[in-house]
Amino acid sequence: MSTAEAPPELLSTAEMASFVARGYLRLDAVVPDDVNRAATDELEAILATWGSDARPHAPSTLQPLTDVYPEPSAVGRMLRTPRVAGALHSLVGADAVFDHDFVHRRDADDPTTQWLHADAIIDPSLAFDIQAFYFPHDVAAGEGGTRFVPGSHFRQVNEADVGRYQHVVGEEQFAGPAGTVLIFHHGLWHGAMPNQGDRARLMYKIRLNPTRPQVRLWDTGDLDEMQNGPDDHMFARFRFDSVAAVLRSTEPWYEQGTDRLELVQRARLWRYLSGDDTFDVDYYLTRIEAKAALADG
């Protein structure tokens, strides 16, 4: 069975919970080498003809994801790689639509550091877009891999307004093998970095929009087992194998007093994804809702 024909490999509940907590997933070397080589040529051709009628494969906004980059496009084959297709399906659904894409090229010895930013404009929606970052060749440390701030996706900021932070403790810069795909929540802070290497760094980014509620689109075979009730409470009895256990992870740059507000944001998103309005992490939402119900009669 060829890569293009293999069924998508959906995400697990733990992977989805990790995406909710940290705002990204990293799929290392999931695209085969032959696709990476062909995609490199295709991306260079797209970049060279950007904006012109000569551009190969020019999708339109709102075009179904299933229709963009048809065979024999290497970019299309990347998108239909089982692990990539499964992640996209799990997060935005099989009927997601194309928003836009771009080919990012960082030449050797490019010293430019891009300010931290969130793409598009400030977007507090609970439903979310995703952006996939595909690296068709190896990227060594310092060779211009994208930097990003794990756990920043719920921070409501507009585009480059977070550029005032030159460095954030715990930020990461991508380095890794060819065929790696990062998938970001639309709100994740990120930016381009200098390329201190001796070769250009190529990266392809595509934004996708969901067209239906993103409810239970992943492999939910283990969801009932992992989904916790409000009785899973860090200050009472708690589990190590629940969704809440994954969502409790923190980031080194969170302020002391904001850490729990991040838990509230994660719980709200997990309620949406799991279709379970009673879900909670450490009772913060449940406690407030219960009292509000009393006062509101």
Partner: protein, 101 residues
């Protein structure tokens, strides 16, 4: 204009932004930025990758930086108590150094 005034006017400002984990100045640094008006355009003294130039705000004072601004304590707007956005505990420091020659 005496000589000391002339010397001070010849100095150039450097600005250090430290975001701390709590509103206390001795709390750990979680984010930082540096701007250099001296013309050197060099980073702060190197530390290992990912480590801030100082462990906390007091360490910056001890190294000669002067605190010029700290984030005020502002209650969240009603109905918006759970929103997360910019880093809350921001401290701005300055120091003056001779210009690059």
């Amino acid at each position: 204009m005496d000589e000391s005034t002339a010397d001070r006017r010849a100095l150039r400002q450097q600005v250090l932004l430290l975001c701390l984990k709590t509103p206390e100045l001795d709390a750990p640094v979680i984010a930082w930025s540096f701007h250099d008006g001296s013309g050197r355009r060099e980073p702060l003294p190197a530390r290992s990758h990912g480590r801030p130039p100082y462990d906390d705000g007091v360490a910056a004072l001890e190294d000669g930086w002067r605190l010029v601004q700290m984030a005020p304590a502002v209650p969240p707007p009603s109905g918006d108590e759970h929103r997360v956005a910019f880093l809350k505990h921001e401290f701005v420091f300055e120091r003056f150094v001779p210009p690059a020659t």
